[in-house]
Amino acid sequence: MKQILNIFRKDLRRYWRESAVSVALLVAYGWNDVKGWAGEGNVAAYGGIGGLISYQFLSGLVAALLPVAWAFLIVRVIQGEALVGDRQFWVTRPYEWKKLLAEKVLFVIVTINLPLLIEDFILLAKAGFPPTHYVIGLLWMQLLISLILILPIATLATVTASVVQMILAVLGIVLYMIGVAALVSVVPSSSFSGPADSVELTLLIATCGAVIIVAIRPAGDGPGTMADSGSCSGHRSDRSSYSI
């Protein structure tokens, strides 16, 4: 626990700006939401058409920036102890992979999940619903966001060495998806919808989790690691390799 907290304090000290931006965007998102309910159907509430347009633009911008800020924060904190490369000072320090993994999870929970959960509580209360009645639903939402949004980003961050590499990887995935979509439109009988969806989602989540654990886990702790043939850099760390 001491090691987890030590790394956590370090990460918080280093990424407080990124964390603050992410929380500020979350607050702005919630504030826009509340303002949206108040002025629903009432153009005058926004100070006329111009006001409505700027409100819509602003809320659209915040809604787009929020996941980007989260992604940036996740990538920065994971690549802080980069898994790719062999020169990071920390790879020859007594880091324990389980504690390192736990610290990254803790950091994401504290800087992303927890503020989002608190905001959901406040929004529910503002909307007149008792939040305590919806705790399970809210936690389920957190789990879904973690699995569908945070986990894939974290997976990409573990196998890339920098934000630039990460962006390139995302672009590659987007291009691939566009290609698949184009293919699907050419062959109308093919379909990705149906009962197979949940299997695919489970597979995606399991793959992401496995990639992170395999990447972080050291060689001497069981079979299978990101071996020398390794990731993007051409080298691997047999141990957990995330650079501060």
Binding site: N6, D86, R87, P94
Partner: protein
């Protein structure tokens, strides 16, 4: 060359150590009355110490009557009259008192102390010689701290290590040298489990290299010239951050290292010079008393003053750690290594005590009566055979005076003159590298 050797030890000032080594050479008759004593300049250059320190040594020895300045000749070892012996005995009063206090504190009986002194006395009398190990207080032990067996590492089709067998004993200061691309860094990265081996075995502190993770690193200090440090951290924050990882972290030692290396706690690592960064990395790797200190080219590109400081810092740990160092800086290595290994094309060409290595290499110059003809077959231990009008030169890699002379007579018959010159580690390294290159 200076007529005595100094193996710098921690905790004592350089000046005292050099003065002590000089006195030791005098009392053991290695230097006799009338022998010239090296000048300040020579002392400074050969021992790589500050000229002021060298000056202080000479002044001290002059003041103690152990040296005398002779006009036109320079400083020579003084004749020691009887009266001086009494004064010297009186001068030892403090040291003897200290010895008695330490012995009592450790519970060593008087007989053992006397036996130990007698032994040292005998050694100085020339019946036994003390090599670097003896100088380091008999640190030689038998446990392997680093061991590799047939270690092979290939990167695609490039063979970086080709059956490396290495054995570094506990307490040694082992220097692994070799030309660029010899596989030194690869070897260290396998030992540190940064890479896995293609085949073979590697062990560090009795742990297989693949299992060198987590807590094992609390006993290992690793510093590399290429290491990426957290540049955003201040020196103080960096050390504060590392401290909780190490149960044996010594706060007093950390403070001492900070003072010794003159490290600014408030300065960001990214704003430090290269030398200061190395010092910060070293401070962060020494403060927990590691059993093994691994250094990858720690002196490259550093100015002499910083090198001295780094070496001094290291030597202060040498008593309790094994040091494994990769370096091209052979002059520095020679000043503090006890063992040396030469790696070439992924293979270890030799691995032995530095003292023995330096003993077995000689630059030989044979002067003949007529024009020399290079022999078609020469002993295998002769390297870089060359000739000029009446002289043949070569490097003997298995020097033993009588045997080598006999071999020379066997090859050239009677010769006019033969000289054997000692070689520095750098010269030995260059000779080996050239032979390796020619063979390739």
């Amino acid at each position: 060359m200076i007529p005595f050797r100094v193996y710098f030890r921690p905790g004592v000032s350089l000046y005292e150590q050099v003065a002590y080594a000089a006195k030791k050479a005098m009392v053991s008759r290695q230097m006799r009355p009338g022998d010239p004593f090296p000048s300040v300049r020579v002392l400074s250059r050969e021992l790589r110490i500050n000229p002021n320190t060298a000056h202080k040594v000479v002044t001290h020895l002059l003041a103690a009557g152990l040296l005398e300045a002779r006009p036109g000749i320079g400083t020579v070892v003084a004749e020691l009259p009887e009266s001086r012996k009494i004064e010297r005995t009186q001068l030892l009063g403090h040291e003897i008192e200290q010895l008695a206090v330490e012995a009592k504190k450790l519970g060593i009986p008087l007989e053992e102390v006397v036996t130990s002194i007698s032994e040292h006395w005998r050694k100085l009398g020339g019946r036994e010689t003390g090599g670097p190990e003896a100088e380091r207080g008999g640190r030689r032990k038998t446990m392997s701290v680093v061991r590799t067996e047939n270690l092979v590492k290939t990167f695609w089709r490039v063979e970086a290590l080709n059956g490396l067998n290495l054995d570094v004993l506990e307490g040694a200061v082992y220097a692994l040298v070799g030309p660029n691309g010899a596989g030194k860094t690869t070897a260290i990265k396998i030992l540190m489990n940064i890479f896995g081996p293609t085949s073979g075995r590697a062990e560090v502190l009795g742990v297989e290299s693949a299992r060198v993770v987590g807590r094992t690193f609390t006993s290992i200090g690793y510093v590399s010239e290429n290491q990426e440090l957290p540049d955003w951290m201040r020196v103080g924050t960096f050390l504060d951050y590392l401290r909780p990882f190490y149960p044996s972290w010594d706060r007093a030692l950390e403070d001492r290292l900070i003072r010794q290396f003159d490290l600014p706690r408030e300065r960001k690592l990214g704003n430090l010079s290269r030398g200061m960064r190395m010092k910060a990395a070293l401070a962060g790797s020494l403060a927990y008393h590691p059993k093994l200190i691994v250094l990858d080219e720690p002196f490259t590109g550093l100015d002499p003053l910083v090198r001295d400081e780094l070496i001094q810092g290291l030597l202060e740990q040498a008593e309790e750690s094994t040091i494994f160092v990769l370096s091209h800086d052979l002059a520095e290595i020679e000043s503090f290594a006890s063992h040396v290994g030469y790696l070439e094309q992924g293979r270890l060409r030799f691995s032995e005590e530095l003292e023995k290595l330096v003993e077995r290499f000689r630059e030989v110059q044979v002067t003949l009566d007529g024009s020399p003809r290079l022999p078609e077959t020469a002993p295998e231990s002769w390297m870089q055979l060359s000739s000029s009008p009446v002289v043949v030169r070569f490097i003997e890699s298995r020097f033993e005076p009588e045997r080598t002379k006999a071999e020379i007579r066997g090859v050239f018959g009677e010769v006019r003159d033969v000289t054997f010159s000692p070689m520095t580690l750098r010269e030995i390294f260059l000779a080996m590298a050239k032979v390796g290159r020619n063979a390739a």
